[in-house]
Symmetry: C2
Subunit: 283 residues, 2 copies
Amino acid sequence: MRPAAPALAVRVLEGIGEVRPGDDLVEVILASAGETLAEGDILVVTSKVVSKAEGRIVRAADREQAITDETVRVVATRAHEGGVTRIVENRLGIVAAAAGVDASNTEDGTVLLLPADPDASARSIAEGLRSRTGHRVGVILSDTLGRPWREGQTDIAIGAAGVHVFDDLRGTTDAAGKPLSVTMPCVADELAAAGDLVKGKARGCPVAVVSGLGHLVGPLDLPGARSIARPAERDLFRLGTDEAMAQGAVAGRTAGYSAGRSIGFAEGFAAALAATERERVHR
Amino acid sequence: MRPAAPALAVRVLEGIGEVRPGDDLVEVILASAGETLAEGDILVVTSKVVSKAEGRIVRAADREQAITDETVRVVATRAHEGGVTRIVENRLGIVAAAAGVDASNTEDGTVLLLPADPDASARSIAEGLRSRTGHRVGVILSDTLGRPWREGQTDIAIGAAGVHVFDDLRGTTDAAGKPLSVTMPCVADELAAAGDLVKGKARGCPVAVVSGLGHLVGPLDLPGARSIARPAERDLFRLGTDEAMAQGAVAGRTAGYSAGRSIGFAEGFAAALAATERERVHR
């Protein structure tokens, strides 16, 4: 016996060939999906095909310059055999290695930039699909990113339209009636992850369709994926550890800084460490 | 027309009531799932119910001590109205606020610790389900975590058994035949995320079943979620920015350190920044 109604289903759209600059992704998607799109479906589109359709292609020889142009702020650097990878905040507020400039699944001698405005691209696709099918669908643009503390990569949302990027549970209660004050699941990232489970990186299927989550679909002017990026000034990990230590070391050699903010943090941190140790010892 | 065969389906097991210390989760799951589990299914179990079944409950008054006991290393601290939140690496190698000690969905006056050994818990559940159903199923234990750089939370895998935690694509090629050398999707985290999309935080459904990804299911002795944690010494973000700057500042006041490692990083970082600026200006 199989369940009659899965709560959520994810499938890939098959037969989408190579996407080229100027291609209309609404047409490309409809040519593959036929009449199968339904009210409340959410399409997870690999941002790479959007970049290709938008002609965001540069010569591989210009890769380093392209990364520089996409960079707002260098977050960390990592030296390795092939050179130095820059982990940067790009102009979309996304922290990514090489600013998201990517050489895989591209023509030889070229690299791809992220779409110029992924939320706008998602909106254009969602708008076209809604108008052509008559169904209210949502669109997520996904990219594959590494992350601190955990090995491997997951797909996340870099663009979104017509879909809630957060399932905002603040102000609601848990099953025991207690307020869920800090819970704000980033469903856009979870949708991108679910899409990746079926798309596969190497199989040429850049679009997944998630059905069964129509409650997350809404008007086209909902906040996009830009609203997921946390501003650096509110981020506890806005700089790599080595970079932050080095900045602190340089600053520590000036008397003015010694009495300043960083030392306040040093003392707070030392106090927290000491408290942790005390509790451990006195147990 | 709806697609005949979704590539992936996720549903919740309904009717699982409150889990109590000593409950046998294999029985709890089978009582809800009946005969619906099938070969290749992957169960995503909210770690909280595993903690409850294992009696990992402490008095709320002992919360700070419990966090200390779970802590291997303080990564960062964040001051807020209610006190100071410690972001720590816990004994499982997971970096989490308050070491994953959680007060939501618990009885009043109590908090829950993470399972003592989530991979072992997952294995015990997978083993029991395989033996009782005759089907090779996988098990993921999930938890809800915040992350650097992006707002909101996603569910990730803190335990796994009988399922590949990475879909290791290293050594394979992309659609254009180029090597996918750095791609290692963390499918365990993506499975946890997909599960969260249907489980919901407040609706008392702690178990999701993912069907259609049997190729990710394998023997019970596959590496568990412990293998996802990146060791601190290889992590670019092993300390919070303020904490690292403060450590650097303290060290910077000693002459020995000035000539040492951190300054080397400072110079490397300054050079990378300068190169970025140069490229930007000379364009």
